[in-house]
């Protein structure tokens, strides 16, 4: 079974990818599958409601809002980085987590590099398929490097202004 | 005719391939009449990632009893900025500096096209 990195409680660890990726022109097998948004929309009825784990993989131009009614039935949404410099999936991730309330696994696929760990985790991703042979220990170290953040995002970290408010003890 | 240039990784200094080592002076450049030889040297330089950044070939031409880079940009790299004559390689002076500073006949080279893409 293919491996991926999962992020839980401030640490990264290897995990197993239980979903079988299905091409758009293949028949959908039984069991847990990962399908494109187009395939999902075409065969929505037969894919949902069979008691299986279902994941949808979205391209950079796919709108996460199009999944709004189906999100509770999905265990995985995978967002694609065609290049690491293409940051559209960060916005899609925050919309999925913060606006649409997606609670399942949010997976980063494509040109996913260790140096993206902080923005990925802050925007709500919790699973990564790294393209640079990086390992979980590196992800844990890289993602924990900064002691403070300046803005709220999808990870629930208190921003600097909240720390200041809570801790009047912050030294000037 | 071509020469091979790069920037040194650790300090960014412009350097030229002499055939044996990398020199800070353009005048030390190995001059390639043979394109295949030049490209082989370039490929070898590209594998030297610990010492060099962005090695590339530049067009050079014989003028006024010497050889200079064809493009104005490459002559500036071989000299230093014109607003600070005491900075860069030109500060050392010498006949090779004088020739680079006064040469005419600029034209495009493949080297400058590569340079435009880099930051």
């Amino acid at each position: 079974m293919p491996r991926l990195i999962r992020w839980r409680d401030g640490a990264a660890a290897w995990g197993e990818d239980a979903l079988t990726a299905v091409d758009d022109d293949q028949p959908v097998p039984h069991g847990d599958v990962l399908v494109s948004l187009a395939l999902f929309q075409r065969e929505r009825r037969s894919l949902l409601g069979q008691g299986r784990n279902l994941g949808v993989i979205m391209g950079p131009t796919d709108e996460p809002e199009s999944l709004v009614v189906d999100l509770p039935g999905l265990s995985v949404v995978a967002l694609t980085f065609p290049k690491f410099r293409d940051g559209r999936a960060y916005s899609a991730a925050r919309v999925l987590r913060e606006r649409l309330g997606f609670k399942g696994e949010l997976r980063a696929v494509g040109d996913v590099l260790l140096d993206m760990s902080v923005p990925l985790i802050r925007c709500g991703f919790d699973a990564f398929v790294p393209a640079d042979a990086s390992v979980p220990e590196q992800w844990t170290a890289s993602a924990s490097r900064f002691r403070h953040v300046y803005q709220r995002a999808a990870d629930g970290r208190p921003p600097a202004f909240a720390e200041r408010n809570d801790l009047s003890a912050v030294r000037v | 005719m071509k020469a091979l240039t790069a920037n040194r990784l650790a300090d960014g200094e412009v350097v030229f391939w002499t055939g044996d080592v990398w020199s800070e002076r353009f005048v030390d450049s190995r001059l390639f009449d043979d394109n295949a030889e030049a490209e082989a040297a370039e490929a070898h330089a590209k594998s030297n990632i610990v010492e060099l950044v962005d090695p590339y070939l530049i067009d050079v031409a014989a003028v006024d009893g010497g050889v200079v880079p064809v493009s104005y940009r490459e002559r500036l790299r071989a000299l230093g900025p014109t607003n600070k004559p005491d900075h860069g390689k030109q500060a050392v002076g010498g006949a090779d500096t004088a020739l680079l500073a006064t040469a005419h006949g600029a034209a495009r080279s493949k080297g400058r096209v590569d340079l435009i893409r880099r930051k």
Binding site: F84, R85, D86, G87, R88, Y90, S91, R99, D115, V118, P119, L120, R122, C123, R145, F146, R147, H148, V149, Y150, Q151, R152, A153, A160, F161, R164, N165, V170, R171, V172 | N7, L9, A10, D11, G12, V14, I49, V50, V53, D54, S71, Y72, R73, L76, R77, G80, P81, T82, N83, K84, H87, G88, A106, A107, R108, S109, R112, I116, R118, K119
Partner: protein, 552 residues
């Protein structure tokens, strides 16, 4: 000024440690240049023609004396004794060694400076009115809001990989000294009839290959919602800005292709759905930031200084400096003093380590420890007592920093150009030097009056040539330097893009052409007209006729 607290300092310390490790990995060969380049660019470290260039952010152009001294020390220790102030109110060091870069960032961090987000497709260092906190024509201190955006945009996880770079300018004054219409986002503060503060929000300005002046997308944004509204703008851009063509990736192209009204509708729709309370700063934090900018050091002084008046009467050079470089302050008995980095024949925007130290000393002794950088590549002492002006002038003049030419023809903006920049097609600095030498006589420069010349060495327009009264763009014609002239541009309230005068000129024809253009202006001008007024009335034709007249 804003003062870093422990949190701000730890953010910088973490960043310095991260970059030191990245540099070590590169220098040891554990990382290739292709892997390293985006990382060094995120710390403002470019490879230019002769060496590495480090671009240090100066948020909203504000510096104190300790920061200026560290910049001077970096120039002296790690560079060749000088730095270059840019149109984005940053400073660039041109002769940096990669192996020194982590130590430089450590030195900068000690005084709250850094190179974070001075490159890359992210929210860049933001600019603001350099007269902030000193001018009577502002409705609030724009630095408060600029600082709020600085923190919010630092390492923003959603907006670190935008389609292209993103620049923000803020002003609170009637007069636009921050060129807000050429920015991706330009914010102007208003005080409404009910005394409430709001922003007029402009989006989609920018120069470069396809210049645009920004339209207004929202007339009145309550200030407390600044950050949530910025998030909505950036999210619409991040999701829908073009990524297929680098020349069409700036937000100006998205705004122009959708139309300002449709872009505004999309932003408003996104903002409606935004959890504003989670994003906007709470009143306590805004009050904390505001308090750091509160100025309490002013003395109660008479509006007229007998020392200042007597010095003007006695010393013609000082009187000229006072006319051109000294500007009124909101506080009676004080003035703003422009420090010209445009000495005749020198490089526009360059300051030596010694000059930076002179300005640091003056800021500390005479300007409540504050100095500013302007986008016109000068420095400014914002709070000088009128009584102290003769001494400040004497010290500046001794350091070559008192050229009385602010907004005059020799106060030229010029990018580094082909003398330093890997992107340039032609040199900009020698052109500026040639022109300035022709107008070295201060009486002549004053007679010509306000005339803004802006020079860029390539179409990326770091020298703002599109919005110069006279713009000069360096182009490459078969490997030789040529220059295209535009007339009639402006970056201020009357913002306009210049009109191309005619075919590009060879380098040695540029300064003579400026002479000719000035002659036509002096001939054509009517009472009190500035160059730009005469141009707007008379048009291109009389200038074109003279510059392109067949040689006799």
């Amino acid at each position: 000024m804003y003062r870093y607290d422990e949190i701000d300092r730890e953010v910088l310390a973490d960043r310095v440690a991260e970059f030191r490790e990245q540099c070590d990995r590169r220098l040891s060969g554990a990382m290739t240049e292709d892997q390293f380049k985006p990382l060094r660019l995120m710390n403002g470290l470019y490879l230019q023609l002769h060496a590495y260039m480090l671009r240090v952010a100066i948020p909203y152009g504000a510096l104190n004396s300790a920061q200026l001294r560290v910049l001077a020390n970096i120039a002296r220790t790690y560079d060749r004794g000088y730095g270059h102030f840019t149109t984005r109110t940053n400073i660039q060091f041109h002769w940096i060694k990669l192996r020194d870069a982590p130590d430089i960032l450590r030195d900068l961090a000690e005084v709250g400076l850094h190179a974070i987000q001075t490159s890359g497709n992210c929210i860049r260092n933001l600019t603001a009115d350099p007269h902030a906190g000193a001018t009577a024509d502002e409705v609030d201190d724009p630095r408060i809001w600029a600082e709020a955006i600085r923190q919010w945009s630092t390492f923003h996880p959603e907006f670190s990989y935008l389609p292209r770079k993103f620049k923000i300018a803020v002003t609170a004054a009637a007069k636009d000294r921050a060129a807000i219409r050429i920015y991706d986002v330009g914010l102007r503060l208003h005080r409404d009839a009910d005394d409430a503060l709001s922003f007029e929000v402009r989006v989609g300005g920018g120069l470069g290959r396809l210049p645009h002046l920004s339209p207004v997308i929202r007339e009145r944004l309550p200030v407390r919602h600044l950050l949530s509204y910025m998030q909505a703008i950036l999210r619409v851009y991040n999701r829908h800005g073009r990524r297929d063509n680098i020349h069409k990736a700036r937000i100006k192209i998205l705004v122009a292709s959708l139309g300002a009204a449709e872009f505004a509708r999309q932003v408003e729709a996104e903002w409606e759905l935004t959890d504003k309370a989670a994003i906007d700063l709470p009143p306590t934090e805004l009050a904390r930031i505001r308090a750091t900018f509160a100025r309490t050091g002013f003395e109660t002084l008479p509006a007229i200084s007998t020392v200042f008046e007597a010095a003007k009467a006695d010393d013609r050079a000082f009187a000229r400096f006072a006319r051109n470089n000294v500007m009124p302050h909101k506080q009676p008995g004080y003035a703003l003093v422009n420090v010209s980095l445009k000495a005749i024949g020198e490089t526009p925007g360059d300051a030596s380590a010694e000059q930076m130290e002179v300005v640091a000393d003056l800021a500390e002794r005479f300007s409540l420890d504050e100095a500013r950088v302007t986008y016109e590549q000068n420095l400014l002492l914002p709070h000088v007592r009128l009584d102290d002006l003769p001494e400040v002038h004497r010290v500046l003049a001794a350091a070559g920093l008192a050229t009385p030419n602010i907004t005059l023809i020799s106060d030229i903006i010029a990018c580094p150009g082909l003398d330093y920049c890997a992107l340039a097609n032609a040199r900009a600095i020698p052109i500026a030097q040639d022109i300035a030498r022709r107008f070295a006589d201060p009486a002549l420069a004053e007679r010509v009056g306000e005339l803004k010349i802006k020079i860029s060495g390539c179409i990326n327009a770091c020298g703002h040539h599109h919005v110069g009264h006279i713009g000069i763009l360096g182009v490459d014609k078969k490997g030789e330097e040529f220059y295209q002239l535009t007339l009639g541009g402006s970056a201020e309230a009357d913002a306009a893009l210049g009109h191309v005068l005619g075919p590009a000129l060879a380098a040695d024809r540029v300064a003579p052409a400026i002479d000719q253009i000035v002659e036509v202006y002096l001939r054509e001008r009517r009472d009190g007209e500035r160059f730009i007024d005469t141009f707007n009335r008379a048009g291109l034709a009389p200038f074109k006729e003279v510059v392109y007249a067949p040689a006799h």
